[in-house]
C-alpha cells in the first residue's frame, strides 16, 4: 500500500536531483567554454567557419520565413487598421512587431531548429565516433578547439540573422501593403520612420537576439557534448535541443520584454 507511493516519491526525488545535477554540469560546461574562448578569437578563421555553418547556411530559411511573416503582418494589419481608417499605419505595425518581437523570437526559433539541432547532432556524433576523445588524446582541448568556435559562431550569427529577418519582413509588409493593396508608399515609410525608435525598438531587439543566440547555442552544444554515444542518444539530444531552446527563447523573451517595455 505504502510502497507504490514511496516508489513514486523516490522517482520524483531522483528526477529533481538529476535535473539539478545536470543544471550544475551545464553551468560548468558553459563557464569552461567562456574561460577557454581564447582560441576562438586568436584563430578567428575557426569561428568564421562556424559563422558560415550556423549563419550563412541558415539564410534561406530566415529570408523566406521573414518575407512571409512580413507579408502576413501586412495583410492582417491592413485588415484591422482599415476598420479604424488608419490603414497607412500598417508600416508602423509591421516594423514594430518585427523589430521588437517577431524578428528576434521567430529568427531564434528557426535558428534553434536549423543550426542548433545541427550543432547537437554534429557534436554528439563526434563523441559517438570517438573524435572528441581522439582529440583529447592528441593533447588538443576539444572545448577550446571544437566547442568555443561553434559557441561564438552562433552568438555572432544570431543577431545578424534576426536583423535580416526583420529587414526582409519589413520588405514583405511593403510588398503587400504598398505594391499589392496600394497604400501610399510615402505614408507607409514616413509613419514607420516616426514610430520606430532606435534605442527603444532596434537596440532592444538586438539585445534580445544576442541573449537568444547565447542561450540556443549553449543549449545545443551542451546537449551534443552530454549526449549518450549511441544513435538513440544523439537523436534524443537533438530533440531536447529544439524543445529546450524553444522554451528558453519564449521564457527569456517574456522576462526581457518585461524589463524593456514595462513603462511604455
Amino acid at each position: 500500500m505504502v510502497e507504490p507511493v514511496l516508489d513514486s516519491l523516490r522517482g520524483v526525488g531522483h528526477r529533481v536531483v538529476n535535473g539539478i545535477w545536470r543544471l550544475g554540469y551545464a553551468s560548468g560546461f558553459l563557464l569552461m567554454t567562456l574561460v577557454r574562448s581564447g582560441t576562438s578569437f586568436q584563430r578567428f578563421q575557426l569561428t568564421i567557419k562556424e559563422i558560415y555553418s550556423a549563419g550563412v547556411l541558415s539564410l534561406i530559411i530566415i529570408i523566406v520565413s521573414g518575407l512571409f511573416v512580413g507579408m502576413v503582418l501586412g495583410l492582417q494589419g491592413y485588415e484591422t487598421l482599415q476598420k479604424y481608417g488608419s490603414s497607412e499605419a500598417v508600416g508602423t505595425l509591421v516594423a514594430l512587431s518585427l523589430t521588437r518581437e517577431l524578428g528576434p523570437v521567430v529568427a531564434a526559433l528557426l535558428f534553434a531548429s536549423r543550426a542548433g539541432s545541427a550543432m547537437t547532432a554534429e557534436i554528439g556524433l563526434m563523441k559517438a565516433t570517438e573524435q572528441i576523445s581522439a582529440m583529447e588524446m592528441m593533447a588538443v582541448d576539444p572545448i577550446a578547439r571544437v566547442i568555443g568556435p561553434r559557441f561564438w559562431g552562433g552568438v555572432i550569427s544570431m543577431p545578424l540573422l534576426a536583423a535580416i529577418f526583420s529587414a526582409v519582413g519589413v520588405f514583405g509588409g511593403y510588398l503587400v501593403a504598398v505594391v499589392l493593396i496600394g497604400i501610399d508608399a510615402g505614408a507607409f515609410w514616413s509613419q514607420m520612420q516616426n514610430a520606430v525608435d532606435f534605442r527603444q525598438d532596434i537596440v532592444n531587439g538586438i539585445i534580445k537576439s544576442v541573449v537568444f543566440g547565447f542561450a540556443v547555442t549553449a543549449i545545443a552544444l551542451f546537449e551534443g557534448y552530454d549526449a549518450p554515444p549511441t544513435a538513440e542518444g544523439v537523436s534524443g539530444a537533438t530533440t531536447r535541443t529544439v524543445v529546450t531552446s524553444s522554451l528558453a527563447i519564449l521564457g527569456l523573451d517574456f522576462v526581457l520584454t518585461a524589463f524593456m517595455f514595462r513603462g511604455i
Partner: protein
C-alpha cells in the same frame, strides 16, 4: 629507465562495477606488448588509464617515470604529445580530408610553415601507403584505409608510445595483414614502444614480443608468444584455440532452461 609504462596494483570501477582489479604490468621500451582478453574484460579501460583519460581508484600508472594520474592538465597534455593512439574504428575527423587529419596535430602543436606541414603529412601517409588518397574525405575511404590513415595520424608527431585499440576488428584479411605489418615496422623504424589491445589471437601472436591475458578485470596469464602457445592454463588454452566451452562457459548463468520455456509441471 628500462620500462616506458608501468602499472602498479591498478584498480578501477565504473560506478559500483569493478572493471580492473589490481593490474600489475610493465611495458619495456622498444617492445610491442599485447593485452588480450574477451570483450568487456577491461582492456580498453586500461589504455584509457595509461593515456590519462581516466584515473584509477587505487594504484598508479607511470609513463616515462611520471605518475599519469597525478599530472596536472598541462603536464598531461605535454605527455600526450609523445603518445599516439589508434582507435578501433579510426576516429578520423569526418569534416577533414585524409591529409588534414594527419596534419591536424602538426598544425595544432607546431608553428611550421604550411607547405612543410603538408610535406610531413604526405610522408606519414606515404608510410602507410595512402599518399594517393590524401585528398579523400573519411567517408570515401574503406574501413582498412581509414584505419591506415588513422595510423598515419597517430604517428604524425613521431610518438614514443603508440597504443592500438582493437586495430584488427572488422578488417578483411589483406587489410589485416597490412595493418599488422605496419604496426611492427613502424614500432621498429620509429624506435617507439607499442601497446596493442586485441582479441585477434593468431595475427597478434605473430608480431608481438610479450602478451598479457586479461579476464574479468585481472591479469590471468602472461608470457612471450611461444610461452602462451604452449600454455596449459585452461583459460589461455580455450582462448588461443577458440574452444566454445571451458573455464569461460558458453551459457551465461540463468534460470533453469525448462523454467524459462515454461515446461515445468508438464512432465507428469
Amino acid at each position: 629507465m628500462e620500462n616506458l609504462v608501468e602499472s602498479k596494483d591498478v584498480s578501477f570501477t565504473y560506478g559500483f562495477r569493478p572493471v580492473l582489479k589490481g593490474i600489475n604490468m610493465t611495458v619495456p621500451r622498444g617492445k610491442v606488448v599485447c593485452i588480450m582478453g574477451l570483450s568487456g574484460c577491461g582492456k580498453t579501460t586500461l589504455l584509457r588509464l595509461i593515456g590519462g583519460a581516466l584515473k584509477p581508484r587505487h594504484g598508479e600508472v607511470r609513463v616515462n617515470g611520471r605518475v599519469v594520474n597525478l599530472l596536472k592538465r598541462d603536464a598531461l597534455y605535454a605527455m600526450r604529445r609523445k603518445l599516439g593512439m589508434l582507435y578501433q574504428f579510426g576516429a578520423l575527423f569526418t569534416d577533414m580530408t585524409a591529409l588534414d587529419n594527419v596534419a591536424f596535430q602538426i598544425r595544432e602543436h607546431t608553428d611550421l610553415p604550411e607547405d612543410m606541414v603538408e610535406d610531413l603529412a604526405l610522408m606519414k601517409l606515404n608510410a602507410v601507403g595512402l599518399r594517393g588518397a590524401h585528398h579523400r574525405m573519411p567517408a570515401e575511404l574503406s574501413g582498412g584505409m581509414a584505419r591506415r590513415v588513422a595510423l598515419a595520424r597517430a604517428i604524425a608527431l613521431d610518438p614514443t608510445l603508440i597504443m592500438y585499440d582493437e586495430p584488427f576488428t572488422g578488417l578483411d584479411p589483406i587489410s589485416l595483414g597490412v595493418i599488422s605489418n605496419l604496426l611492427r615496422r613502424l614500432n621498429d623504424t620509429l624506435g617507439a614502444t607499442s601497446i596493442v589491445v586485441t582479441h585477434d589471437v593468431q595475427e597478434t601472436l605473430k608480431l608481438v614480443d610479450y602478451v598479457y591475458f586479461m579476464a574479468d578485470g585481472a591479469i590471468v596469464a602472461q608470457g612471450t608468444p611461444d610461452e602462451i602457445r604452449e600454455s596449459k592454463a585452461p583459460f589461455v588454452h580455450q582462448f588461443i584455440w577458440g574452444e566454445v566451452d571451458g573455464p569461460l562457459p558458453f551459457h551465461m548463468p540463468g534460470a533453469p532452461y525448462a523454467s524459462d520455456l515454461m515446461l515445468e509441471g508438464t512432465r507428469g
